[in-house]
C-alpha cells in the first residue's frame, strides 16, 4: 500500500438530510443545511484551495485562500465560512479569485523560509501544495524587511519540534488543541505582524499545559509542528492501518513506514473509535517495540537462580511441552494452567484458552481482566444479560448528563475524554464520583455540576443513596421499568429504606446529603443520562455489587437502549473486552457461556475432538493459593507481568517460587520472568496480525507492519506447544482463527477478516440479526429478556484504617504511562513521569513532617515501600494516592489480597497504610536503594 491520505473536506460534516442543492462550477450537489460552500464543493469533486481550513475543525476564515464568487452576492466570500443556500451557484475558479489567491500566497511566502528541498515536510506540506495549486510563480517582496525567519525552534518536547519560522499563523494548531483535544494549551500571542503561536504564556511546549496528543502536529499545514521522527528519518512512503495497543479506546492509526521502518503513527480519520484523534501514548510512544531491551530468542534454565541459556524455538517448545506433561503425570491434569493477556489479540487469546482446555485438558485459564474488569462481566451479565458496555463512543455526543464514576478519562482514556469534553463544552452537565479531584472536575471550559468526593470503598452506599432519591422523589421511569424490567418492587423497597437515604449514608460516604440528592436528580431528570466508569468501581471488595448498583440506577431512570445513555465501562487495556469475549475465564467458553452448559460444550468438543471439563478451573488468585498449597505446579503466563501488577506481591512471588515450571511470554524480561524457567519472546503490536476489541465492543483489525522480530507469531508458538503436548493445533493465518471463533460464538458469527476489511470495524453482536454489528445494545429488550434489578447491600470493606495504618491508599494511572510501564518506560514518555509519586494532602503531610519531594515510607499490613511525596489537595485528608508504573516503587507490595466477593478482582483501591518520612528532599542520594519490599504478615 502507498501512503494513505484521507480526503479533507475542509469543514466538518453537518447532520441531517441532504436537502440543500448547490451548483459548484456547473456540478450539482445536495448537502445538509449548514454545510459550508467549501465542503459542498469538495463533495462535488471540486477542491477549493485552503490553508486555515481542515475538516476536523470548525471554519475560521483567516487565510483568505478559499475565496470564491457566488452569483448574486457581492465580493469574494470565504467558502469555508459561507454556508450553502438552496439554488446557490458557486464559481471557484475565476480570474478574480485566482488573482486574490496568488496575492495571498505571495504574502505568505514572503515571510517563509523557502527551503522546501531540505524541509522535513517536503512532500507533505499544504503551503507547498497550495503555492502550486494557485500557480504562484514569483514572490515580489524580498527578505529585507522585518520577518520571523530567525525565530528559534522549540525542541523541548521529546516527540515533535516547534519551528515558528515556518508558521503561517493559521491557528489550526490552536483550534485543534481546543476543539479536538479540549486542552486549550495553545494560543495566539500578540497582534498583527507580531502574532505567533504560543504554548501557554510564552512557555516551552514541555513547560506548558500541552498533553502531547499530537492534534496540533496533525493539524499543522506546514513543518512548523513536525514529528521528530520525520525530521530524523524523512517522509514515510507507505501506510498500514492498524490499532493502538494501549488503552481500551482502541484508536485506529496509520502506521506510516519507510520500507520496514516505522516513521510515525498518525491517527486514522475513519477509525470508528477515535475518528482521527490520538493521545501521547498511541501517537508517539511506540519506541518500545524496537527497544534494545527486547528479548528476541527463547531462553531456558533449570532453576530460577541459574543464568538464562538461549535456545532455538524447537528446544524451547519441547521443554515447555515435556515439563508441562511431566507435571501433569506427577501431580494430576489440573496441576498446570495459563494466564492470558488483554494486550494480546483475540486470536492469540483464543488459542491460549483452546490450548488449556483441549491440550492441558482442564479449565485453568484466566486472564488479566480478572484484576481489572471481571466485576463488569459479572455485574452486567446479572442485570442486562451481557458482559459488555451498552453504547458506542459516539453516543456521548447525545448525552445531557454524564456521570463519571471511579474513572479518570483524561489520563486513562484520553481520546474518549476529548469526545466527552466536547459534549460538556456544548452544555452537557457533569457529575464526578471519585475520592480524587480528577482533572475533569475543573478544566478549561468545563466544571462538574457535582463532585461527590466519597471515601474510598463507599461506592455502593453512594449509588444506593442516589437510587433512594430516585425512588422516593418519584423520579423512576415507570413506563420503562414496567415494560422492560423485573425485580423492581423488591429493589424499590430495599433502596427506599431509611438507612439508604443520603442523610443516613453521609457519615459513611463523606458525601453531603444535599449534594448527593442534587446529583441524583440531575441524572434522573436528564433526557439522556449516561454513566461511564472505570477501575475505581470494579477494584473493590464490592466491585460487582457496584456494577449492579449502577445498572439498577440506569434501569430505574430509563437510561438504556438508545443513544446518549447507558452503562459504559472504560476498559483499562486495549483488549480487555476481547480477552473476556474469547473464553479466557475459567468458568466460561467464548461469548460468556458457562462450561457446565452441555450444549455449548458439545459445539467445542465436536470441533476440537476433545472432551472438555464441565467444572470451572482456577482463577488467578486461586492459582496462587493452589501453588502455595502444592496442587498447582506449572503456569504459562502470556504477556502479563503478574509479579508487578497483581496485589500483595509477597503472596504472588511466594506462589511463583513454589511452582516447578513458570513459562513467560513477553517482549521484555519483566518482573515475572525473574521467576520463570522458560522465556518465550513475544511480538509487539506492530508485528501482530489479528484483532482487538475495544470498550465499545468494536472489533478492529491489527495488521502487522513488519515480521515478528523473534521469528514466530505468538499464536504460532501457542499452537506449537499444544502440538508438542500431543494435541495438534495449526492455522495458516490468524484469519482462520477468527473464522473458528465465529463458528463457535453466536455473537461473533458474522465477523471475519473479510467483513472487517469491508466495514473497517464491527461492534459485536454481529450475526444474522445484526449483520453490520450493534453500536447500541438492549434497544428493544435486554439480552436476558427483562432487565433484572438486584438488591445491592452496602458492606464496609474488611480493610479498615487503624491507629497504626490510619490512611487509605488508592491507586490510579497517569496520562503518559501505561499499566506497569513495561512499554511506556521504554519511550520518551519518561520525560513526564520518571517515577511514581505519593500524593499526600497538606494536612497529612504536615503532621508527619513531610514536605514536597521528600522520600517517604509507605507501609501497609502486608508490605512496605518508599517513594517521593507530592503534596496535593486533590485527595481529601486521610487518603493518599499513587500510580504503579515503575517496578522500583513496588506499589503492589503494599496492596492486600482483599478482593471482590463475586469475581476475586483485587481491592487495589483500598489499602490501609501509614506514611512516614524516610529522607528529606536532597538526602535521597545517600540511600540509592529504593526497592519495594514485603514485610511479614501480622
Amino acid at each position: 500500500m502507498s501512503l494513505l491520505k484521507e480526503p479533507d473536506f475542509g469543514t466538518p460534516e453537518r447532520p441531517g438530510e441532504a436537502t440543500v442543492s448547490v451548483d459548484v462550477d456547473g456540478l450539482s450537489v445536495a448537502v445538509p443545511e449548514g454545510t459550508s460552500v467549501m465542503r459542498a464543493a469538495a463533495l462535488a469533486g471540486v477542491d477549493i484551495p485552503k490553508l486555515c481550513a481542515t475538516d476536523s475543525l470548525e471554519a475560521f476564515g483567516s487565510c483568505r485562500l478559499c475565496v470564491v464568487e457566488i452569483d448574486g452576492r457581492r465580493g469574494t466570500p470565504a467558502s469555508c465560512t459561507t454556508p450553502v443556500a438552496d439554488g446557490m451557484r458557486v464559481r471557484t475558479q475565476t480570474p478574480k479569485v485566482a488573482k486574490l489567491r496568488q496575492g495571498v500566497m505571495e504574502l505568505y511566502l514572503s515571510d517563509h523560509p523557502l527551503d522546501c528541498l531540505t524541509c522535513p515536510a517536503n512532500g507533505d506540506c499544504e503551503l507547498q501544495d497550495m503555492a502550486g495549486v494557485v500557480g504562484l510563480r514569483q514572490v515580489r517582496y524580498g527578505y529585507e524587511g522585518e520577518n520571523h525567519l530567525d525565530a528559534e525552534t522549540d525542541r523541548s518536547n521529546p516527540y515533535f519540534d516547534f519551528d515558528p519560522s515556518k508558521c503561517i499563523v493559521c491557528s489550526r494548531c490552536v483550534r485543534a488543541c481546543g476543539e479536538v483535544q479540549g486542552t486549550f494549551a495553545l494560543t495566539i500571542e500578540g497582534r498583527g505582524f507580531d502574532s505567533k503561536v504560543s504554548p501557554g504564556a510564552g512557555e516551552l511546549f514541555m513547560d506548558s499545559e500541552c498533553v502531547s496528543c499530537g492534534a496540533c502536529v496533525q493539524a499543522c499545514p506546514t513543518s512548523t509542528l513536525q514529528e521528530r521522527s520525520v525530521v530524523e528519518l524523512g517522509m514515510p512512503t507507505r501506510s498500514v492501518v492498524t490499532t493502538c495497543a494501549y488503552c481500551g479506546v482502541g484508536c485506529s492509526f496509520k502506521a506510516e513506514m519507510r520500507g520496514d521502518e516505522l516513521v510515525r503513527m498518525v491517527p486514522y480519520k475513519d477509525g470508528g473509535a477515535n475518528e482521527g484523534h490520538s493521545c501521547v501514548k498511541g501517537r508517539f510512544a511506540f519506541g518500545y517495540a524496537s527497544h534494545p531491551d527486547r528479548i528476541l530468542k527463547p531462553m531456558v534454565r533449570d532453576r530460577i537462580t541459574d543464568p538464562w541459556r538461549e535456545v532455538g524455538w524447537d528446544e524451547a517448545i519441547s521443554t515447555v511441552a515435556t515439563r508441562m506433561r511431566g507435571l501433569q503425570e506427577r501431580y494430576g491434569p489440573g496441576s498446570i494452567g495459563a494466564i492470558s493477556s488483554s494486550r494480546c489479540t483475540n486470536e492469540e487469546v483464543f488459542v491460549v484458552q483452546k490450548m488449556v482446555r483441549a491440550a492441558f485438558g482442564n479449565n485453568n485459564i484466566d486472564t488479566c481482566a480478572r484484576v481489572c474488569h471481571s466485576p463488569t462481566g459479572y455485574g452486567l451479565k446479572q442485570t442486562f444479560g451481557e458482559s459488555a458496555g451498552t453504547q458506542d463512543f459516539r453516543s456521548v455526543a447525545q448525552a445531557d448528563v454524564i456521570m463519571v464514576i471511579g474513572a479518570n478519562p483524561t489520563d486513562g482514556h484520553p481520546v474518549f475524554a476529548s469526545r466527552m469534553k466536547r459534549r460538556l463544552r456544548e452544555g452537557a452537565r457533569l457529575v464526578v464520583i471519585d475520592p480524587r479531584r480528577i482533572d475533569l472536575v475543573r478544566s478549561p471550559h468545563i466544571e462538574a455540576a457535582h463532585h461527590l468526593q466519597l471515601r474510598p470503598s463507599t461506592n455502593v452506599a453512594v449509588v444506593n443513596a442516589m437510587a433512594h432519591v430516585v425512588v422516593t422523589e418519584g423520579l423512576v421511569d415507570r413506563e420503562f421499568v414496567d415494560a422492560r424490567c423485573e425485580g423492581f418492587e423488591e429493589w424499590e423497597e430495599f433502596v427506599a429504606r431509611p438507612e439508604n437515604s443520603p442523610e443516613a449514608t453521609e457519615s459513611v460516604t463523606g458525601v453531603p446529603a444535599g449534594e448527593l440528592r442534587a446529583a441524583a436528580r440531575l441524572y434522573a431528570e436528564a433526557p439522556n443520562g449516561a454513566i461511564y466508569y472505570g477501575l475505581g468501581v470494579t477494584e473493590h471488595s464490592q466491585g460487582s455489587t457496584m456494577v449492579m448498583g449502577m445498572a439498577n440506577l440506569a434501569m430505574a431512570c430509563g437510561n438504556l437502549g438508545r443513544d446518549g445513555v447507558g452503562v459504559n465501562p472504560l476498559r483499562g487495556q486495549n483488549n480487555v473486552q476481547g480477552s473476556c469475549d474469547m473464553g479466557s475465564f475459567p468458568h466460561e467458553l467464548t461469548g460468556y457461556r458457562h462450561v457446565s452448559d452441555d450444549a455449548v460444550r458439545t459445539v467445542f468438543e465436536e470441533l476440537w475432538g476433545r472432551t472438555l471439563l464441565s467444572e470451572p478451573g482456577l482463577r488467578i488468585p486461586n492459582m496462587f493459593d493452589a501453588a502455595i498449597d502444592g496442587t498447582f505446579r506449572g503456569l504459562f503466563v502470556h504477556g502479563e507481568d503478574i509479579a508487578q501488577s497483581d496485589p500483595n506481591l509477597q503472596h504472588v512471588t511466594a506462589a511463583l517460587e513454589s511452582m516447578e515450571l513458570v513459562v513467560v511470554q513477553d517482549l521484555f524480561l519483566n518482573e515475572t520472568a525473574k521467576f520463570a524457567h522458560v522465556f518465550l519472546p513475544g511480538a509487539s503490536f506492530l508485528e501482530k496480525d489479528g484483532t482487538f476489541t475495544n470498550a465499545e465492543r468494536r472489533v478492529n483489525r491489527v495488521r502487522s507492519v513488519m515480521r515478528p522480530k523473534a521469528g514466530k507469531h505468538e499464536w504460532e508458538i501457542v499452537c506449537d506447544i499444544a502440538t508438542a503436548m500431543g494435541y495438534p493445533m495449526s492455522y495458516d493465518h490468524p484469519g482462520q482463527i477468527m473464522d473458528e471463533i465465529a463458528q463457535v460464538t453466536p455473537t461473533f458469527r458474522g465477523i471475519s477478516f473479510e467483513t472487517l476489511d469491508k466495514h473497517g470495524s464491527i461492534q459485536w453482536p454481529c450475526n444474522e440479526d445484526a449483520p453490520e454489528g450493534t453500536p447500541t445494545m438492549h434497544v428493544d429488550s435486554f439480552v436476558r429478556g427483562k432487565g433484572r434489578f438486584v438488591v445491592t447491600n452496602y458492606l464496609p470493606t474488611n480493610e479498615r484504617t487503624t491507629s497504626r495504618f490510619p490512611l487509605v491508599l488508592t491507586t490510579g494511572r497517569i496520562l503518559s504511562q501505561y499499566n506497569v510501564g513495561a512499554q511506556t518506560r521504554r519511550t520518551g514518555n519518561v520525560a513526564w513521569h520518571p517515577e511514581d509519586l505519593l500524593e499526600l494532602h497538606p494536612h497529612d503531610a504536615e503532621v508527619r513532617g513531610v514536605q514536597d519531594g521528600d522520600e517517604v515510607t509507605l507501609a501497609s499490613r502486608v508490605g512496605k515501600t518508599t517513594l517521593r511525596a507530592q503534596i496535593s489537595d486533590r485527595m481529601p485528608p486521610g487518603v493518599v494516592y499513587t500510580t504503579f508504573h515503575h517496578p522500583v516503587t513496588g506499589a503492589n507490595v503494599v496492596t492486600t489480597e482483599n478482593s471482590d466477593w463475586a469475581t476475586n478482582c483485587p481491592e487495589y483501591k483500598v489499602t490501609a497504610v501509614q506514611v512516614g518520612l524516610a529522607h528529606p528532599l536532597g538526602a535521597r542520594d545517600a540511600d540509592p536503594v529504593r526497592e519495594g519490599r514485603p514485610v511479614g504478615v501480622e
Binding site: P616, G617, L618, N622, V791, N793, L795, T896, S899, W901
Partner: protein, 78 residues
C-alpha cells in the same frame, strides 16, 4: 484480616454477606450456586475439609451454603 484466614473460608463468608438480604435458606442456595459456578473443584474440596473439621469461622449462611455445595448432589450452576 486478609492473609490469616484460609482463602476459601474468607471468600464463602464474603459471598454469603452479599446475599444477606435473602431469607437464610434462599441465601444459602444462592451462595452455593455461585460457588458451583465459579470455584474450581479443589477449592470446593478444601471448603468441605473446613466444614468437616469443625466448621469454625463460618457465618450461618456460609456454613449452610458450604454444606449444600459439598453434598454429592451439590447445587446447580447459576
Amino acid at each position: 484480616m486478609a492473609g490469616t484466614v484460609p482463602a476459601e473460608r474468607r471468600m464463602v463468608n464474603e459471598i454469603a454477606v452479599a446475599f444477606q438480604h435473602l431469607p437464610e435458606t434462599e441465601a444459602a442456595e444462592a451462595v452455593a450456586r455461585h460457588i458451583r459456578s465459579f470455584w474450581d473443584p479443589r477449592m470446593r474440596a478444601r471448603l468441605a475439609e473446613f466444614v468437616a473439621s469443625g466448621a469454625e469461622g463460618f457465618n450461618p449462611v456460609a456454613l449452610a451454603a458450604a454444606r449444600i455445595v459439598t453434598r454429592p448432589d451439590g447445587a446447580a450452576v447459576g
